[in-house]
Amino acid sequence: MNPSDYLSAALMIAGAVFFLAGTLGLLRFPDVYSRLHALTKADNVGLGLVVMGLAVQAESWAVVGKLLLIWLLVLLAGASVAHLIARGALERGIKLWRR
Amino acid sequence: MGALLSEISWGVVLILLPLAGGIACFLFPRAAKVLGLVSVFAVLLSVSGLGWNIKVNGIYRHAIGGWNAPLGIDLYADGLSLLMLAATALVGFGISVYSADYFEREDAARFWPIWLLLLAALNALFLSADVFNLYVTLELMGLAAVALAALAGGRDALGGAMRYLLASLLGSLAYLFGVALLYHGFGSMDIAMLAVRVEASPAVWAALGLMSVGLLLKTALFPLHFWLPPAHASAPAPVSALLSALVVKGSFYILLRLWLEIFGPLGGGVDTLFGLLGTGAILWGSLQALRQTRLKLLVAYSTVAQIGYFFISFPLAASAGVTAWSAAAYLVLSHALAKAAMFLATGNVLRFGGHDRIADLDRVVQRLPLTACAFALAGVSIMGLPPSGGFVGKWLLLQAALTQDRWDLVSVIILGGVLAAGYVFKVIGHAFTLADISHESREVPAKMEWAALLLAFGAILLGFLASPVLSLVGIGVPFGVSEVSP
C-alpha cells in the first residue's frame, strides 16, 4: 500500500462523507428548495474529491482529463437541473418553508 | 440460367427484398402502393426460386457472415419452412392486391412500410435457425402486427392492439428467458447444435415450459387466446387477414420447429397437454363463433378454433409421425389461404354495407356474388369438406388418429368440422335471405372481390395438389421424427 494509495483512499473517504451529508440533507430538510440546495452543493464537492482521489490512481493524463470532464459535466448539469426543478416548483406554487 | 438460379442465395434475397421494399415505401410514401406491390411480387418469385433450389439440392443452409453455427447465425430452410414461406408469399400477395384498393392515400402511406417490414420479419423467422434470432424476429413481427392492428384508430381497435402488445411482449420475454436457460445450459443458440446437446435436465424443462407458454400466448391457443378476437376483429380487413393467416402461424412455426428438433424427443406429458388445449380451443372457439352476431368476430373466433386443430397433431405424432405432421402442415397452409379469403370477403361486406351484423346481410349473395362465393369456398375449406385443402388435412389427421385408436381426438375432429359447418352456414344462410333494413352501399372495386375469390380458389385447389405439396414438405428435418408409418 504505497503512499498514493493512502492519499486517494483518504480523498475518496472525504468525498464519501460529503455525499453522506448531502443525502442526510435530502432526507431531513423540510421543503424542496432546501433539499435541492443541499444535494447540489454537497454532491458536487463530494464528486470533486472522489475524482481527485481517482486521478491519483490514473495511469495516464488522458484519463485524468476525462475524469475532470466528467466532474465538469456533473457540475453543469447539476446546477441547471436544480434551477429548473426550483423554477418548476415555484410555478406549481409550492411555498418556501417558513418556520 | 440454372446456374444463376442455384447460385443466388435465395434465403437472403427473401429477407432483404421486403426489407428494402419497406424502407423504400417509407422513404417515398407517395409511391408506396406501387413499390409495395412490386416487392411482394418479387418475394413471390424468390420463394419459388428457393423452392426450386431446395427441390434440386436439398436443404438450404447459409452461414451469415461466414461464421459457422455456434458463433454465427445460420439461415436454414427445409420443406416445412418452404411451405410456410410459400403460404406467406401467396397470402401476402393476395392481401397486397386487396389493400392496394382498400386504403386511401393517407392510410396507404402508413400501411405499406409496416406491412413490408412484417413480411421481412416473417420471412426471417421462417428462415432462421438461431434461437435468439427467432426472438428478435418474433419481436419485430409482434410490433409490426400491433402497429398495423392499431391502424384503424377506433376505440376497440386501440384497446385490442394494446392488449395484443402486452400479451406479445410478455410472450417474447418468457421466450427470451427460455433462450437464456438453453444457451447457458448447452452453450449454443443454433437449433441443430441444441438438438444434439440437449438431454433432460431441469433447465431444459424450464426452458420448454417458458418458451411454450410464450409461444402459445403469441399463437393464441385456447386459454391464452383472450387477446385475439378483439384485436383481429377491430383491425382493418387486410390487416386482420394478415394477423389471422400469417402472424399467428409464425409463432406456431417456431413452436413446431423447437418441438420437432429439441423438445420432441424428450417425451413427457407435454404433447398430451397440447392435445387437450387443442381440443379445448376447437370446442370453445367454435361455440363462441356460433354465438357471435358480428361477422368479423365470428371469423376471429373461427381462427381460435382452427388453431386448436394444429395442436391436435402433437399427441398423434407419437407413433404416426409422418401423417400427423403433414396433416398439421397442410392444415396450416389451407387455413392461411381460407382465413385470408374469409377476412377479405368480410371486409368487402363491411365496406359495401357499412356494417357486418350477420342478421342483416340482406341478400349479399345477389349484390356481391363474388364475395359471397369467396366466403362460401373459404368456408368449405375451413369446414374440411372434400374438394378443399382443409379436407386433406382433416383426412390425414383422422387417419393418424384412427391408426392409434385415439377415439377422443377423432370425435373432437369430427365435432369441430360439424360446428364449423354450423357457423359458416349460419352466415351463408343469412346471405340468401332478404333483410328488412336497407343500408347505403359503397361500391366495392372488382379487384378486391377477385383477390378474395382467388385466395379462396387457392384453398380449394390445395385439395387436389396434395401429393406434390406433401412430397415437397417431406424434405428435411421435420418428418425424421419417430418414423412409424400407418
Partner: protein, 102 residues
C-alpha cells in the same frame, strides 16, 4: 454461490416481480413499467450466467444479446406508451377496455 448466481437469482426475482405487477395492476403505465422490469430481470439472468467463466473475461455473446435486447425493449416501450396515450385520448382512461369496468 458466486456473484454470477447471486445476480441470476436477483434477475429471476425481478422477472417474477414484474410478472406479478403486470397481472395485478390495471393502469397501463404500470403495466409498461412492469414489462421493463421483467426485461431487466431476464437481461440480468443472461449476463449474470455469462460470468461463470472463472477469472477470464466473461462470455461476450450474452452481452451483445442484452444490448440488442435493451434497444428492442426501449422501442417496444415507446410504441406501448404512444398506444396508451392514444387509447386514453379515445376512452378517457389509461386502462384496457375490460379493466375499465372494474
Amino acid at each position: 454461490m458466486s456473484a454470477a448466481f447471486l445476480f441470476a437469482l436477483v434477475g429471476v426475482g425481478l422477472f417474477s416481480l414484474g410478472l406479478y405487477a403486470l397481472i395485478v395492476h390495471a393502469h397501463l403505465l404500470r403495466k409498461i413499467l412492469a414489462i421493463n422490469v421483467m426485461g431487466s430481470g431476464v437481461f440480468l439472468v443472461l449476463v449474470a450466467l455469462a460470468k461463470r467463466t472463472g477469472e477470464s473475461q466473461p462470455d461476450a455473446v450474452p452481452h451483445a444479446l442484452v444490448i440488442t435486447g435493451i434497444v428492442v425493449a426501449v422501442s417496444a416501450t415507446a410504441l406501448a406508451l404512444t398506444l396508451m396515450l392514444k387509447l386514453t385520448a379515445e376512452t378517457g382512461r389509461a386502462e384496457l377496455p375490460e379493466d375499465q369496468g372494474k
